[in-house]
């Protein structure tokens, strides 16, 4: 059994809500509400959910881009949220983030080569004279050309910029990469290129991914373990094949059946959920999904279901399973 790379225990992140003319704090958005995740080295964990599920906040809170409300995040046994700033900075290269929007995540006034190489220098991972060579090497492994090194971000297309973002993370030799919707801003043909790049890099470098996405088909393609989030809570976690073949939670089932499949006139059973996703500021009582669940019973309205092992490492939070 290899050492656990990332351990998230009962993580909570609440944002205060302020209101109107008075700017009073009137409540809290429970963006992340008691989430636990365990990542082994070399694994790819897919975190799936719709808007408002808190999946992006999980990623950002793990990296301490925002402070947690409760719980703990351990990277190789070190609690990220209690580290003093300078030590945390020293640890940063080992855990990298890839952003959704390849436009806003690159500084428009920094040349590509500098954007990729600067962190190496700041961490003293490389001498000034070697930086350029290393950057060139990384550019190449991310499918970019050496003449790109002196250009500015606005000279690139979305797909190329995403490659730059990946190169910027990769050059630090990270062990964990958190990818927050890295392909959802891209066109289909470019999406496939980037997805393949992710696979290739994992094979060649033994990376561990926490892959955050709303797109189930992409998650199925890339991830070995998958967690489904709804309104800040994890509703189901299982290995890929288990989750896609035998989904247990009604929400997972509905999600799977809602994904359009590019086969015309395909007859399939579909669960169309009623209504909207409730606001995370005011989540339903009991099981948060009960307002939209086609199978909801009395117990679902009043009691919060326990997230438990339904057998063989397939975890689910539902009264009816």
């Amino acid at each position: 059994m290899p050492e656990t790379l990332l351990e998230v225990n009962h993580l909570k992140k609440y944002f205060p809500i302020t209101k109107g003319l008075l700017n009073r704090t009137v409540g809290q958005v429970k963006a992340v509400d008691d989430i636990s995740i365990r990542l082994q080295p070399g694994e790819t964990f897919g975190l799936v959910g719709e808007s408002g599920s808190g999946k992006s906040t999980v990623g950002r809170t793990i990296l301490r881009l925002t402070e947690k409300t409760a719980g703990e995040v351990k990277f190789k046994g070190v609690d990220i949220h209690t580290l003093p700033p300078e030590e945390l900075r020293g640890l940063r290269p080992k855990m990298q983030l890839i952003f959704q929007d390849p436009y806003s995540s690159l500084n428009p006034r920094v040349r590509v080569g500098d954007a990729i190489g600067e962190a190496l220098l700041d961490h003293g991972l490389c001498s000034r004279s070697d930086v350029r060579d290393l950057v060139l090497e990384t550019l190449e492994s991310c499918g970019l050309s050496s003449y790109h090194i002196d250009r500015f971000p606005h000279e690139f297309s979305g797909g190329q910029r995403q490659r730059i973002g990946i190169a910027r993370a990769l050059i630090l030799n990270p062990e964990l990469i958190i990818a927050d919707e890295p392909v959802s801003a891209l066109d289909v043909s470019i999406q496939a290129q980037i997805i393949n790049l992710f696979s290739k890099l994992q094979q060649s470098r033994g990376l561990t991914y926490l892959f955050i996405s709303h797109d189930l088909s992409v998650v199925e393609h890339l991830c070995t373990t998958i967690g489904v989030m709804y309104l800040g809570s994890m509703v189901e976690t299982a290995s890929r094949d288990e989750l896609f073949r035998h989904p247990l939670h009604p929400y997972t089932k509905a999600l799977l059946s809602a994904v359009p499949i590019p086969i015309p006139k395909l007859k399939r059973e579909r669960i169309v959920l009623k209504g909207d996703i409730p606001s995370p500021a005011n989540p339903p009582s009991g099981c948060k999904f009960h307002t939209r669940c086609p199978f909801a019973e009395e117990v679902c309205r009043s009691q919060v279901p326990v997230f438990r092992d339904a057998g063989g490492g397939h975890f689910v939070a539902c009264h009816l399973v």
Partner: protein
């Protein structure tokens, strides 16, 4: 919108191959802006006129010529002469030197103070931010003109020789102008901090120094250039008001503002408009040209235009 996204690759194409420079691209775009370029040409002309022009004038000395008092514009004196027989055109040019210098210098000073304090406040937050912004708020609460008047009156109290007054006037204008600049830079800093690429900088574990000098400042400089340009116009206007009311630069040092002071004399005002209209028009022409040029600069440099 759909149309914008369809044009996205166009922008990519605008760049030359190889090592490119944002500065060169901006200059190229600026050259295409006719209105801005005409503003620039007028500004250049005014500078040339004021700094080089007097060298070609036969009337550069401030000698009093009683024979040529209050002459209307004519062949010998294109813009006429004043009560001491001095050539108005030459005086307008000499006054322009002072007015332009005061405008330029006070701009440099207020941009320097404002940008520095604003950046410190916006980047470090905390106590420094509190102190700087409270002082700025305080100065912004006090109406500007009375404040300048008080300063102007103080100058006389301290018996500053007239030759040096212009330096003090520069300083006064900067004291009044920096809070607005600081507030702007701070706001920009705060919004930049929230941008995703700054979050990327945190994740990469970059040092504070690099975040400030390599990421934040380069994004603020375009705004500063634009603000600085527009600020020159504002400073020239303020200086002229002060000098007009006798609280700024005082005669015999001529400035456009104190030349218009002639209009305070009933006879000069009504019957010798050549005494005060040329300096007024000079102010107007210079400031409008600066404003048009600054606006063109904003179009080219404003980060909102670019992604």
């Amino acid at each position: 919108m759909a149309v914008n996204s369809s044009l996205a690759p166009v922008r990519r194409a605008g760049a030359a191959s190889g090592r490119s420079s944002l500065f060169r691209q901006s200059v190229r775009r600026l050259l295409h802006n006719k209105l801005a370029m005409s503003g620039f040409v007028v500004v250049l002309f005014m500078f040339a006129l004021c700094f080089v022009g007097p060298l070609f004038s036969p009337y550069t000395d401030n000698k009093i010529n009683m024979a040529m008092m209050n002459k209307a514009p004519g062949l010998k004196h294109w813009l006429g002469t004043d009560a001491l027989g001095r050539d108005i055109l030459t005086r307008v040019m000499q006054a322009g030197r002072i007015s332009l210098t005061v405008g330029l210098a006070s701009m440099v000073l207020s941009v320097f103070i404002g940008a520095l304090l604003g950046a410190v406040a916006g980047y470090y937050r905390g106590v420094a931010d509190q102190i700087i912004m409270r002082v700025a708020d305080l100065l912004l609460t006090i109406p500007g003109l009375p404040l300048l008047f008080i300063f102007g009156a103080l100058l006389s109290e301290w018996k500053i020789p007239t030759d040096y007054r212009m330096y003090i006037v520069m300083l006064m204008l900067s004291i009044v102008n920096w809070p607005g600049m600081a507030r702007m830079v701070r706001g920009q800093m705060l919004s930049l901090r929230e941008r995703e690429f700054m979050q990327a900088a945190v994740v990469l574990g970059l040092r504070d120094r690099r975040k400030l000098f390599n990421h934040l400042l380069p994004n603020i400089i375009p705004l500063l250039i634009v603000m600085a340009t527009l600020n020159i116009g504002g400073a020239i206007l303020s200086e002229s008001v002060l000098s007009f009311f006798g609280l700024g630069v005082m005669p015999p040092t001529p400035t456009w503002g104190n030349m218009i002071d002639a209009a305070n004399n009933m006879i000069d005002f009504q019957q010798r408009p050549w005494l005060w209209i040329p300096p007024g028009l000079s102010i107007f022409a210079t400031v409008i040209a600066i404003n048009i040029f600054g606006d063109g600069l904003r179009d080219v440099l404003d980060p909102k235009q670019k992604r």
